[in-house]
């Protein structure tokens, strides 16, 4: 099964890549290719040109600063994330999640930047990056800007990136002296491995209290969103099983219409959102 024919471009710099995108409105960016190539083989996508950013130097790697803030290059693979001992110290949720993306072969090729730019409704890292309050650096012909992940996902397979913009870095905030508890709970489709529902929770813990809470949900909503009602319900509360259960009960509020397909109805997904939220919060709070 071949994709449709396309023009192939292999730029050697980000500037060259964004210029190619500006000049070829029908072009798509190729990173690891593990969402794009399967779609092209099924002819769900047939871009006239591919801009292969896979060899641009400097886009792959993980830098952790002394304050715990992290810069991850967009071409960093899931396997790189899984193997980073340094990242595991402040942000263990990343290795935990990388270990449940796809399978070993997908993890060797798929990239974090590609996942966020693709914005698949069943991706794992979209939810995790929302919970971590991450932001991305986007570079286009007009310059560069920082986009909080909160403002990145705007629709099904749709981001707020301009057509000539490429994500070059993912930024995680400084941990500083904060105590962060975090967990990702995924109900994977047994055949595809994609998230039927996935919930990422990050709690800033002050003593026994949830000082702040961020929850990202994937699989159920049209695109990954924050469960703000559940966040608000738990913020400022003592971290008890009861408080977590009450927060989880309102986890679907504000997520909009939920996805339904032959495998899982919207009602079932709503149930899974509540269950996965409770599990993720429980583990993030250190209560499991």
């Amino acid at each position: 099964m071949f994709p449709s024919a396309f023009e192939y471009h292999r730029p050697s710099s980000v500037q060259e890549a964004v210029q190619l995108l500006a000049n070829n409105p029908e072009a798509k960016v190729l990173a690891g290719g593990h969402s794009l190539l399967p779609a092209m083989k099924l002819r769900l996508a047939a871009p006239a040109a591919l801009v292969d950013i896979g060899r641009i130097p400097g886009l792959r790697g993980i830098q952790v600063s002394g304050d715990g803030s992290v810069v991850i290059g967009a071409l960093t693979t899931y396997l790189d994330l899984l193997d980073s001992g340094e990242l595991r110290q402040g942000y263990p949720i990343i290795a935990e999640t990388a270990n449940v993306v796809g399978d070993p072969h997908v993890r060797a090729r798929g990239t974090l930047g590609g996942s966020l730019a693709h914005c698949d409704p069943a991706a794992d890292f979209t939810a995790v990056m929302l919970a971590l309050n991450a932001s991305v650096k986007a570079v286009g012909t007009g310059g560069e800007r920082i986009i909080p992940v909160d403002d990145l996902f705007v629709g099904l397979l749709t981001t707020s990136l301009n057509p000539d913009e490429i994500i070059t870095e993912i930024h995680l905030p400084a941990v500083g002296g904060r105590k962060l508890g975090m967990a990702y709970e995924k109900h994977a489709h047994p055949a595809s491995g994609y998230a039927v529902v996935g919930v990422a929770a990050v709690i800033e813990i002050d003593g026994n209290t949830a000082k702040s809470v961020r929850i990202g949900v994937t699989g159920a909503p049209e695109y990954a969103k924050r469960a703000t009602a559940a966040e608000n319900a738990l913020t400022g509360q003592q971290l008890t099983a009861d408080a977590i259960a009450q927060a989880a009960n309102v986890a679907t509020e504000g997520l909009g219409e939920l996805n339904g397909d032959v495998y899982a109805s919207p009602e079932y997904r709503a149930h899974l959102v509540r269950v996965m939220t409770r599990r993720a919060l429980t583990r993030a709070a250190g209560l499991s």
């Binding site: 071949f2 083989k41 292969d52 070993p104 997908v106």
Partner: protein
């Protein structure tokens, strides 16, 4: 008048496959698995599902296991590729291949090249995997005959043998 389209320009690729250097001109849309099977004649790597699910096409690219049906040949330009044909050395089976033989890790054999390449990649990363870790590593490889039991045993056999 009918619209005419010209085929996109071919691209030169060169890669090392099983220790041998190859160079060819390919269409950009050519998948690595087709390059291996059709251009190089290395038909040990199989095409199963064609939708990035089954893992029959797994090869090693720069030391990591990849699905060669989901990599363009142009993306593998300059890479080191190992296929099932290149796994054994000096006429000796690789321990994972031997494990599949000894533990009856196959029936029809269609998934076997991908299973073996996956097992070999796992043992390079993790020489002493638990059964659970082996099963987790096999999540991207489908077998419709064996029920996986003997595939897991074959990889355990190889792990034991490689540890000496």
């Amino acid at each position: 008048m009918a619209e005419t389209t010209t085929a996109p320009a071919k691209v030169a690729v060169s890669m090392t496959v099983n220790g041998k250097q190859y160079t060819a001109e390919v269409e950009p849309r050519m998948l690595l698995v087709h390059f291996l099977r059709e251009t190089l004649g290395l038909t040990g790597t199989h095409v199963g599902c064609d939708t990035s699910s089954c893992g029959a096409c797994v090869v090693h690219m720069n030391g990591e296991s990849v699905k060669s049906c989901t990599v363009l040949a142009v993306q593998a330009d300059g890479a080191e590729i190992t296929t099932i044909e290149g796994l054994g050395q000096d006429g000796q089976l690789h321990p994972v291949q031997e494990g599949f033989w000894e533990m009856h890790g196959l029936q029809c054999g269609y998934c076997t090249p991908g299973m073996i390449m996956t097992g070999a990649a796992l043992l390079k990363r993790n020489p002493n995997p638990t059964e659970e870790e082996i099963r987790h590593a096999l999540e991207g490889n489908l077998c419709r005959c064996t029920g996986y039991q003997n595939i897991v045993r074959a990889i355990q056999y190889a792990a034991d043998k490689m540890r000496g």
